[in-house]
Amino acid sequence: MKKPEELLAANETRSVNPKVFTMWLFIVSIVMLFAAFTSAYLVRKAEGNWVEFELPNLFYYSTVVLLGSSASMHFAYLAAKKDQFNALRLSISITFVLGLIFLIMQFYGWIQLVDENVFFVGNPSGSFVYVLSGLHGLHLISGLIVLLVALVAAFRLKINAKALTQIKICTTYWHFLDALWVYLFLFLVFNN
């Protein structure tokens, strides 16, 4: 038997914003996608015939850049909460630029791999690095689009302390993309 207060409390959990919730479910499906890839990596590695090579050192620097972008994304969220519109626009822009720099660095990381004679076509140990970083990059591009939409909304004053849903979704997704890369990177460092 439930008391009325408990029922009310139960109702509060029910009123989770459906859009934010949808975002989380979307994230779950991306997690499963990459969980499948990294499991495949382990299964394949266990079978032997596995060429070992150095990960491009640019990946270390790009990881730092991406972590930085997560910090500026967090500032954007705080600014939106306090209705500081200029800070909000600035932080979103910084995040966007850092995201772009990250992508460019990843691309140069691939060039470093090619210089090491690790190609997309060849032993799966190399192909996996391209697939994992490439698909993460593809998701990051979708993140950049989400950021652009948020930036436009910020200029139209559609994001403010009373309308935080959009920036919440944007922040969640960006932090997730950041965490996803950190996971993939550490995974590659420890399993390469």
């Binding site: 109702n11 919730f21 499906s29 997309f120 076509v121 697939v131």
Partner: protein
């Protein structure tokens, strides 16, 4: 009476408020690019029915070859063209394409999209008391991605090189090398494109289902007051959300191997005397990834059918479902186990026998929740006041098929026995009974039961009975003999098999001919349904609001349900959905929206205590309306 009029006035005022915002949608918005979950459900259903006839007729063509290997098929030339060779026989490559496409179409397009897509869309908002899905737009996109995927898959049937032919599991290297067989060329490419679109569609649908069930339940609809249908759709959506991305990753790696020359699945291989450059790939890796989806997919297909059966059996036995919580628990158990048994499809891939026995153990555990469900269906039927509507007959048929098909699962799940039975017709018999036919019966039960709600009209009962008996007897005649041929060693996917006939061509032809005749008759019987369905949409008897005297919320909507589902306020929910034949009650069913305070004569002591909560439930109305205005 006075309360009723005030209520009607309120409703009218409410409707008036919204008149300036909600203009009448035009034809395209209403029937084609609709965001209304009911229209989307009907779109899925009609697509599913059309696909079922395509998939079914493919199986009839290959059954002709299996049952009557000497038969002249010249008369099929107008349809199949060059796929009938000069001697008037079915082309051997095309036979492989037929079994591949039959499997793909039935598993994904009929029993996933047609079943889950239809009823999750239709019933979730109506049974939990929501105006629509969490996102009508994503829901619409989900259907149109499915449509696109269907169009691509359908067009692959007309390729000169034929559609994909490597089996519905598309194992590499056959699927990874375009030069391996004609069907591995463009047909395979279109198969992969279509499935990628299908996965996107399924994910969008599934995300919407989960989000709607968690966030948009009406006031008072706690998780333990949800109908079992909703529970089953919930678990189905979770299975899909977690397993379809894995299929996508498997498909992506396959695409890289096919088109870019990587070696994820391809190791040192010679084809037509030429060594390929690929090194170090593992085809077993693909099987692991595929079956991590493939096995949950079985339950994605089956669970909605089981959920709807619970609902239909309780309604038509006029009894509460036996073991409501045990039903939820067993579905939860099946969902969890679904993810950790995939390797039982791979017992003969040279897997470590110890690992094999682990997967065997986990597989056999599935028998426990499955048996719980079977027993609960039977105990619900036991001494019930049974009303044999066509939907009820199909539901009982499902229970029968679930048991007779499930029992052989225990045999196949055994890693030692599987060495003998793997890839024989025993497997075909097993999964066609437990997954194919059982889910198909669930689909049919659902259509017969919810047709009045979908189209406001009734389907013809007599035709329904004829359809049921023809299908039920037919399905057993088709799939039961397959157990015998399978134990005797008759393999799957073979164009013709003479090895066990001591050189004679007629090995197994008697049984195979019997199966083929039964299949043709069963398939023809579906025409009765086809006619009944489309005729009743336009000319059926007008339905009443609650034709089956059911307790769930969808029957509190008007006969012609408009957009938003309830013209006035959404009803609140006070009780569980299975108050049938309650001792002391005036009628033999009490709908979920009837408060306990209105039924003092039938309340149990603990239910009398719940009356105190009714005020709290009602007070949530404002919050609920608020959530739709956000």
């Amino acid at each position: 009476m006075s309360t009723a009029t005030t209520h009607a006035e309120e409703v009218h005022a409410h409707a008036h408020d919204h008149e300036h915002e909600h203009h009448e949608p035009n034809f395209i918005q209403k029937y084609i690019f609709s965001e209304d979950h009911k229209t989307i459900a009907k779109q899925y259903l009609i697509m599913g029915i059309l696909w079922a006839f395509v998939g079914g007729s493919l199986s009839i063509i290959f059954r002709l070859q299996l049952g009557f290997p000497e038969m002249q098929l010249e008369w099929l030339r107008p349809i199949l063209g060059e796929w009938i060779d000069e001697s008037g026989k079915l082309d051997k490559e095309f036979y492989l394409a037929l079994v591949t496409m039959h499997g793909t179409i039935m598993v994904f397009f009929v029993l996933t999209a047609g079943l889950s897509g239809t009823f999750s869309n239709f019933l979730i908002p109506l049974q939990i008391g929501a105006r629509d899905m969490a996102s009508g737009f994503i829901n619409m996109l989900s259907f149109w991605f499915f449509f696109l995927s269907s169009a691509v898959m359908f067009s692959s049937l007309f390729l000169e090189t034929g559609p994909a032919s490597g089996g519905w599991v598309i194992y590499p290297p056959l699927s990874a090398l375009p030069q391996a067989m004609p069907g591995s060329g463009l047909g395979m490419t279109l198969w992969l494109t279509s499935m990628a679109l299908f996965i996107v569609s399924s994910l969008m649908g599934g995300i919407n289902y989960i989000c709607t069930i968690i966030n948009l339940r009406t006031r008072g609809m706690t998780f333990t007051k949800m109908p079992l249908t909703i529970w089953s759709f919930f678990f189905t959506a979770i299975l899909g959300l977690l397993s379809f991305p894995v299929l996508l990753s498997a498909a992506l790696l396959l695409i890289f191997d096919r088109s870019f020359g990587t070696s994820f699945y391809l190791s040192e291989i010679y084809i037509q005397g030429q060594a390929l450059p690929n090194m170090g790939g593992s085809p077993i890796l693909y099987q692991h990834l595929f079956w991590f989806l493939g096995h949950p997919e079985v339950y994605i297909v089956l669970l909605p059918a089981l959920g709807m059966t619970s609902e239909i059996i309780a309604t038509n036995a006029r009894k509460p479902i036996f073991g409501y919580r045990a039903m939820i628990g067993s579905m939860m158990g099946i969902t969890l186990l679904a993810f950790i048994v995939w390797a039982h499809h791979m017992f003969v891939t040279g897997m470590n026998p110890f690992l094999g026995s682990v997967f065997m153990f986990l597989t056999l555990i599935i028998a426990v929740p499955s048996a719980v469900k079977a027993f609960n269906y039977i105990t619900t039927l036991w001494k019930g006041n049974l009303i044999f509507t066509p939907a009820m007959l199909f539901s009982i048929g499902l229970v029968s098929l679930f048991i007779s098909g499930g029992v052989t699962g225990i045999i196949l799940g055994n890693s030692a026995l599987d060495i003998n039975l793997h890839d024989t017709y025993f497997v075909v018999a097993h999964f066609h009974l437990v997954m194919g036919s059982a889910s198909f019966f669930g689909l049919m039960a659902g259509v017969y039961h919810w047709f009045p709600k979908m189209f406001g009209r009734m389907m013809n009962k007599t035709l329904g009975y004829i359809h049921f008996w023809a299908t039920f007897v037919g399905v057993y005649c088709v799939f039961f003999p397959m157990h015998y041929t399978g134990i005797a060693g008759f393999p799957r996917r073979y164009y013709s098999f003479t090895a066990l006939g001591n050189g004679r061509m007629e090995a197994f032809t008697d049984l195979n001919a019997f199966i083929s005749i039964a299949a043709i008759l069963t398939f023809s019987a579906q025409a009765i349904f086809f006619f009944n369905f489309f005729y009743s949409i336009f000319k059926g008897k007008k339905a009443s609001q609650n034709p089956w005297n059911s307790t769930t919320l969808e029957w509190t909507t008007p006969v012609e349900v408009g957009h938003g589902n309830w013209p006035g306020e959404i009803p609140a929910v006070y009780r569980w959905p299975y108050d049938y034949s309650k001792p002391g009650a005036e009628s033999d069913f009490i709908p979920q929206n009837v408060p306990y305070s209105a039924t003092p004569e039938s309340n149990l002591p603990e239910e009398n205590e719940e009356i105190a909560n009714e005020k709290a439930i009602e007070s949530l109305l404002a919050a609920q309306n608020e959530s739709y205005n956000r």
